[in-house]
């Protein structure tokens, strides 16, 4: 009995010292932040994407494609200046949240706050509501673009990082996962990405950003592929082996000649972003998540 009370005292001591380090973030703040990210992501194309489009414009061989790239840059300018969505498909709201393990969420449910933020942002911003419930039968529009698709990750620290990625249906529909055999190796992966892009043609609105998740399990590969899309263009892969693979895939894909919007040209993709994770001795999962040229994501740290 005595021993136990000692243990309880010790535990509460630990708890007290931990409480000192805990940061509180209110759900209202999260809701407002998510709502603002919805607007920012849909109206403002990132400078990294604009730079990549300008770079493609300088090197593109096809005159028709050069004109298309100019029109895409003009579209980005108009969207920003007039607060009109870059694309009428304002996407499913995919949200990545990194929660520092020393953060306390105060005032209610975090998921509900994010959902509320999406609801408010898509309404205030005159963004298109594209989510339907009863997906295989009545397909009823939920009318406020909820629910968002939220991915949580617990990380060290006392901050909350939110990345909001509106993901359009056109490019998402052309994405694929394959459970390759280990023997398929690097060439198997490159070939799968190449075939995915070829099959997609002009539909996913190239020039693309191609997210590739390699390893893990079925869902881990898909998640890595999607997360890779949020990486700023121009930032190298995690290591030289991954960077080299990305460069090789990019070259192979751009040899297809599909070009901007599928109308021929040397820029079918602007970038390939790959990520890897260890996997089972029997497996080599590969996920390819295609992202259109309107690569939208915005982030905030609370």
């Amino acid at each position: 009995m005595e021993d136990r009370s000692l243990l309880v005292n010790e535990c509460s001591g630990v708890l007290k010292s931990r409480q000192m380090a805990i940061r509180t973030v209110g759900i209202n703040q999260i809701k407002i932040q998510v709502s603002e990210l919805c607007l920012k992501a849909n109206f403002e194309l990132g400078q990294d994407v604009i730079k990549a489009l300008q770079n493609a414009l300088e090197r593109e061989k096809s005159p028709v494609a050069r004109e298309t790239l100019l029109q895409l840059l003009e579209n980005a300018r108009l969207a920003r200046e007039k607060s009109i969505p870059l694309c009428q498909d304002c996407g499913a709201a995919v949200v990545f949240i990194e929660i520092g393990q020393d953060v306390h969420i105060d005032g209610g449910s975090l998921s509900e706050a994010v959902t509320e933020g999406v609801r408010a942002g898509y309404s205030e911003g005159y963004l298109r509501k594209s989510m339907v419930d009863k997906p295989f039968s009545e397909r009823i529009n939920t009318a406020d673009n909820t629910p968002p698709v939220i991915h949580y990750e617990i990380v060290p620290g006392d901050r909350l990082r939110i990345v909001l990625m509106p993901k359009g249906g056109g490019a998402e529909n052309m994405s694929r996962v394959s459970m390759l055999s280990p023997g398929d190796g690097k060439e198997g992966i490159i070939s799968f990405v190449e075939q995915t892009v070829k099959k997609a043609g002009g539909a996913p609105c190239p020039p693309l950003i191609i997210g590739v998740g390699i390893g893990g399990t079925l869902e881990k590969a898909a998640l890595m592929a999607k997360q890779s899309l949020a990486r700023p263009l121009g930032e190298p892969g995690l290591n030289s082996e991954i960077s080299a693979l990305e460069a090789e895939i990019l070259e192979r894909v751009n040899r297809l000649g599909i070009g901007p919007l599928g109308m021929g040209g040397s820029y079918t993709a602007l970038a390939v972003h790959a990520a890897t994770f260890p996997c089972h001795i029997a497996s080599l999962p590969v996920a390819v998540n295609l992202q259109c040229h309107s690569s939208r994501h915005a982030e905030a740290v609370l």
């Binding site: 096809s62 029109q71 529009n141 056109g170 599928g262 040209g265």
Partner: protein
């Protein structure tokens, strides 16, 4: 090649003269429908009922706009992927639909139907919804308002840019342009 100005609806002779790769600036009337509306139209046709819009000779744009801000005609209004409409398209061509506007390649069945019905498939700027909004001078919902962004609309457009993707003689923009740049990319 400079774009040529056309008025929609197109005449049958105009459509016959169009060739894959021709660039157009379209003014006039175009109708808008995408997945959910196509599904309803097909059900009506299958039941032998009249359609809410007479598509004979008309131009159909695969699109679902973002909401218009107060004082604006329309929100962003770029094309959606055409191939999802393939399964619904032949009955509409049978009813005389003459031109379709969307993005991306279509099935072999639709390419053959375009030849058979002397129609045309055009593509416009995927992902340039803000830019295309400037080409729309009037927009009204014709039917199925309950479908929201998927309602059938009637647009009046001015110098709306499009490129002929499939012509009635079997010309294919994607094949002809991709072949030019395939394997050419510099290291």
């Amino acid at each position: 090649m400079k774009p040529v100005q056309f008025t929609s609806p197109f005449s049958s002779q105009e459509v016959i003269n169009l060739k894959a790769g021709d660039r157009l600036l379209i003014s006039g009337v175009i109708y808008v429908a995408r997945d959910a509306a196509h599904r309803r139209l097909t059900e009506l046709i299958a039941s032998g009922l009249d359609l809410p819009v007479d598509f004979c000779g008309q131009t159909l744009y695969y699109m679902g706009p973002s909401p218009a801000r107060p004082g604006s005609v329309i929100g962003a209004c770029g094309p959606t992927t055409s191939r999802r409409m393939d399964r619904y398209t032949v009955p509409l061509l049978e009813l005389g639909l003459r031109a379709m506007i969307g993005k991306g390649e279509r099935s072999e069945e639709i390419r053959q139907a375009i030849i058979r019905y002397r129609a045309v498939y055009l593509v416009t700027l995927g992902g340039a919804g803000a830019l295309l909004a400037d080409c729309v001078i009037k927009a009204e919902t014709v039917c199925y308002p309950e479908l929201g962004a998927e309602a059938i609309m009637r647009l009046e457009v001015e110098k709306f840019p499009a490129v002929v993707a499939y012509d009635w003689q079997g010309g294919d923009l994607f094949q002809q342009e991709t072949a030019k740049y395939c394997c050419l990319h510099e290291k």
